[in-house]
C-alpha cells in the first residue's frame, strides 16, 4: 500500500482546461464524495495543461474532450512525463473517451494524423468510418473485477483495438463500446482503466468509484453508503438501454 493514510487520499483531475467538456468531472466529484462519506480525508488537485502533473497522487482522472484539445493534451502529457512516472509508482488512472485514447499507444488526431499516446494501456485507436456511436449502453464488467453491470452513455466516433496485455473492461449487451464489433467496451490492466462511457460513468456506476478507492486504500471492503438514488438511476438507465425508443 502507498502512503495514502498519512496524507489523505490525493485525487488528481488532469487538464480541466482541455479535457472537461462532457461532464466527466462528475467522476471526480463522485469519487471525492464517496471517499468523504467513508470518513477519509481527501485532497483534490486540478492540474491545468500549463502545470506539472504531480507524481504523488493516488487516483488520477482524465475526461473526454474535443479533437483539438485531445491532441494538445497528448502532446503536453508526453512532454510532462509525470503521469507515466506516477503509474510506475503504482498510481491508479481512470480515463474516459478522448482521455482513454490518449492512454493507448496511438490515436488519430484532429488533423487526421496518427498521434503517439502515453502507452499506459495496450490499445490503439482509429477513427470509425460508420455512424457516430451515440446512446445508452449496457455491458457486463470483466468478471475478475467483481462489479455489477455497467450502464453509461456513449458519444464517440473512435474505434479502439485491444492488444494482448489489455483486458476488455466490459462486454456490451446493448450499445457499441469500443466500436470494434467484438462487443468489447473499454480496457484495463493493473491499475489503469479506460472507457468510452460518459454519463458521467461513476454517477451511474458508483461501484467503480468504490473499486478505485479499494485499490488506493488496499482494502477489500468499504463501509456502505446510501445508494438509493444511484440505484434508482441505474435501474432507469438499464431499462432505457434494453428498450431503446
Amino acid at each position: 500500500m502507498r502512503s495514502t493514510s498519512q496524507n489523505g487520499l490525493r485525487l488528481v483531475w488532469i487538464y480541466p482546461d482541455l479535457l472537461s467538456t462532457y461532464g466527466d468531472q462528475g467522476n471526480v466529484l463522485v469519487v471525492e464524495r464517496r471517499a468523504r462519506q467513508r470518513g477519509l480525508e481527501v485532497s483534490r488537485l486540478d492540474v491545468r495543461s500549463d502545470q506539472q502533473i504531480p507524481t504523488s497522487g493516488d487516483i488520477y482522472l482524465i475526461g473526454g474532450g474535443e479533437d483539438r484539445p485531445q491532441r494538445l493534451a497528448a502532446e503536453r502529457l508526453i512532454r510532462d512525463g509525470g503521469l507515466n512516472r506516477a503509474v510506475s509508482n503504482g498510481a491508479i488512472v481512470f480515463s474516459v473517451c478522448a482521455g482513454y485514447q490518449i492512454l493507448g499507444h496511438e490515436f488519430v488526431n484532429d488533423l487526421g494524423q496518427r498521434q503517439q499516446g502515453l502507452g499506459l494501456l495496450d490499445v490503439v485507436s482509429t477513427r470509425g468510418e460508420g455512424a457516430r456511436c451515440v446512446g445508452d449502453v449496457l455491458a457486463d464488467i470483466d468478471e475478475r473485477l467483481g462489479l455489477p453491470p455497467l450502464t453509461g452513455f456513449e458519444n464517440h466516433q473512435g474505434v479502439t483495438h485491444l492488444g494482448p496485455t489489455a483486458r476488455p473492461f466490459a462486454r456490451v449487451r446493448f450499445g457499441n463500446g469500443n466500436g470494434t464489433g467484438d462487443g468489447f467496451e473499454g480496457a484495463y490492466s493493473d491499475t489503469v482503466f479506460g472507457t468510452y462511457m460518459h454519463g458521467p460513468v461513476m454517477a451511474r456506476n458508483p461501484h467503480i468509484a468504490d473499486h478505485l478507492l479499494k485499490l488506493a486504500l488496499d482494502v477489500n471492503a468499504l463501509p456502505p453508503v446510501n445508494d438509493q438514488w444511484y440505484e434508482a438511476l441505474r435501474n432507469e438507465r438499464i431499462a432505457a438501454a434494453t428498450q431503446p425508443a
Binding site: Q25, V134, F153, W229, A232
Partner: protein, 412 residues
C-alpha cells in the same frame, strides 16, 4: 438605409403567398404558429427568397449560445424608435423560420433576426446584414451540435469580408476569435460568468491567463480587445464615457449584458443609448421566459436554462433562500439526449433553498444533487412539487422541452 427600390419579383411574391397559405393550414391543424412550415414551402418555391426579402431591409443578425431571443427583442424595441421593425420574435431561428418572419413585414425598415449558431454564416451571406451582434459561445447539446471552437472558427470564416458592423462581446475569447476577422468591430465589455469553455486559446491552443476581467494567451499574445462600450453594474458606459442607467423588467446580470449590447447596436443606427434603454424597459417576458404565473396560490417564475452557462446565469438571478426552487430536466431530441452536462453545473450554488426535482430525468438530477451534498425532494410532477412548497414565490428552472411542458401545464 433600405428603400423599397426594387419590388419583389412575381416568383418571390408567389413564394411569399404560398408560404403564408401553408403556415395558415399548419396553424389551423394545431401544429404551432406554422412559421417554419410556411418558410419551408416558400423557400422551396424560391430558394433565394430570404435574400430577396432582406434586400428591402436594414438587417441586424443576433447569434449566441444564450440570450439571443431576448437580445433580439431588446434590439427590436430599441430600433422601433427609428422605424418599423420586422423580427422573428418567437425564436424560429433557422432559415425557414427567418424567411417566414421577414415575409410578414413588407413595410418594415429594419429586420432584427435571431439566427441559430449553426446557420449564422449562411444567413449572413444571404441577407447582407448591416450589423451582427455576437454575445457568447459555450457548450450546448453536445451529442448533436458542432464543437464549440469549430463553431467559432466557422463564424470567423463566414464573417471574413462581411460589410456588417460586428458588435461583439470582448469578454468571451471564442467570440473575439470569431469576430476579429471582420474589419469593423465594436467591442462591448458585456461580461461572461461561464469561463470553462475558454481556458484554451482559440488561436493557438495555449492556456489563457485570466487576471481579473482581462484575458491573454501566454503563448501567442491573443488578448482581450479594448472595448468601446461596457456593462458596469447597472449602467452602460458608451464610447464617450457617459454612463446610462439600465432599467429592465427582465431579471439578472445576463439581461443587463444583453441590454448593453443592444444599446451599442441601436447606436450604430443612430438611436441614442438613453432612448434605446428606455424602450427596452417595456420588454416583460420573452416567449414565456421570466414570466411569473400564479398557480395553486403560488407565484411561479419560469426560467429557461438549456446549458451550463445558462444555468449559472440563472442561479445568479433567483431570489435568495428560503425561496423554494423547482428543477426540471428532460433529455428529448430538442434538449440533446445526453445529460452529462448536469455535472458541469455548480449546483452547490443552490445550498439553503428547498429544492424539488421533476422532469423525465429527475433521477439524473437526484444523483447530481446528492453528490453536491444538497437536500432535495424527488417529486412525481410539477403539481406535487408546487403543493409541497410554501405559498409565495417559487423559482422554476427548466431546460428546453421541460420548460415547454411547464408552460403548457401551468397555463402560460
Amino acid at each position: 438605409m433600405a428603400g423599397n427600390s426594387e419590388p419583389l419579383s412575381p416568383r418571390a411574391k408567389l413564394a411569399v403567398t404560398a408560404g403564408r397559405a401553408a403556415a395558415a393550414v399548419s396553424k389551423a391543424a394545431g401544429r404551432g404558429s406554422g412559421s417554419v412550415i410556411g418558410g419551408k414551402v416558400a423557400l422551396r418555391l424560391d430558394p433565394d427568397l430570404l435574400g430577396r426579402l432582406a434586400q428591402h431591409l436594414d438587417v441586424i443578425l443576433v447569434s449566441a449560445t444564450n440570450g439571443k431571443t431576448t437580445t433580439t427583442r431588446l434590439i427590436a424595441e430599441a430600433l422601433r424608435a427609428a422605424g418599423p421593425v420586422v423580427s422573428n420574435a418567437l425564436g424560429a431561428n433557422m432559415p425557414a423560420g427567418i424567411t417566414s418572419a421577414l415575409a410578414g413585414g413588407s413595410d418594415a425598415r429594419y429586420g432584427v433576426i435571431e439566427v441559430d449558431e449553426k446557420y449564422l454564416a449562411g444567413v449572413a451571406r444571404d441577407t447582407e446584414p448591416k450589423a451582427i451582434a455576437l454575445l457568447n459561445l459555450s457548450r450546448d447539446q453536445l451529442d448533436r451540435a458542432a464543437e464549440t471552437r469549430m463553431l467559432a472558427e466557422k463564424w470567423r470564416e463566414g464573417l471574413t469580408g462581411s460589410k456588417a458592423v460586428v458588435i461583439a462581446n470582448a469578454d468571451d475569447p471564442l467570440i473575439v476569435w470569431a469576430a476579429s476577422s471582420s474589419p469593423n468591430v465594436v467591442w462591448v465589455a458585456a461580461g461572461q460568468e461561464w469561463k470553462d469553455d475558454a481556458w484554451s486559446c482559440p488561436s493557438c491552443g495555449g492556456v489563457l491567463q485570466r487576471p481579473g476581467d482581462d484575458w491573454v494567451c501566454g503563448e501567442c499574445g491573443f488578448r482581450r480587445p479594448v472595448p468601446s462600450w461596457a456593462l458596469n453594474g447597472d449602467y452602460v458606459l458608451d464610447p464617450h464615457g457617459a454612463a446610462w442607467p439600465i432599467q429592465l423588467q427582465l431579471p439578472g446580470r445576463a439581461n443587463k449584458a444583453n441590454a448593453a449590447t443592444s444599446a451599442a447596436v441601436a447606436a450604430t443606427f443612430g438611436v441614442p443609448p438613453q432612448v434605446a434603454l428606455e424602450r427596452m424597459y417595456s420588454v416583460q417576458a420573452v416567449a414565456g421566459r421570466y414570466d411569473v404565473v400564479t398557480y395553486q396560490e403560488r407565484q411561479l417564475r419560469l426560467l429557461l436554462a438549456k446549458n451550463p452557462a445558462g444555468w449559472l446565469e440563472t442561479f445568479s438571478l433567483i431570489d435568495p433562500p428560503p425561496t423554494p426552487v423547482i428543477l426540471s430536466v428532460n433529455a428529448r431530441g430538442a434538449d440533446g439526449t445526453d445529460t452529462s452536462w448536469l455535472w458541469d453545473v455548480d449546483y452547490t450554488r443552490l445550498a439553503g433553498h428547498p429544492i424539488c426535482v421533476i422532469g423525465d430525468r429527475k433521477l439524473d438530477l437526484a444523483v447530481r444533487l446528492e453528490v453536491a451534498g444538497l437536500d432535495f425532494r424527488v417529486c412525481a410532477d410539477a403539481d406535487e412539487a408546487v403543493r409541497i412548497s410554501p405559498p409565495g414565490r417559487i423559482e422554476v428552472i427548466a431546460n428546453y422541452t421541460a420548460f415547454q411542458d411547464l408552460r403548457r401545464h401551468v397555463g402560460n
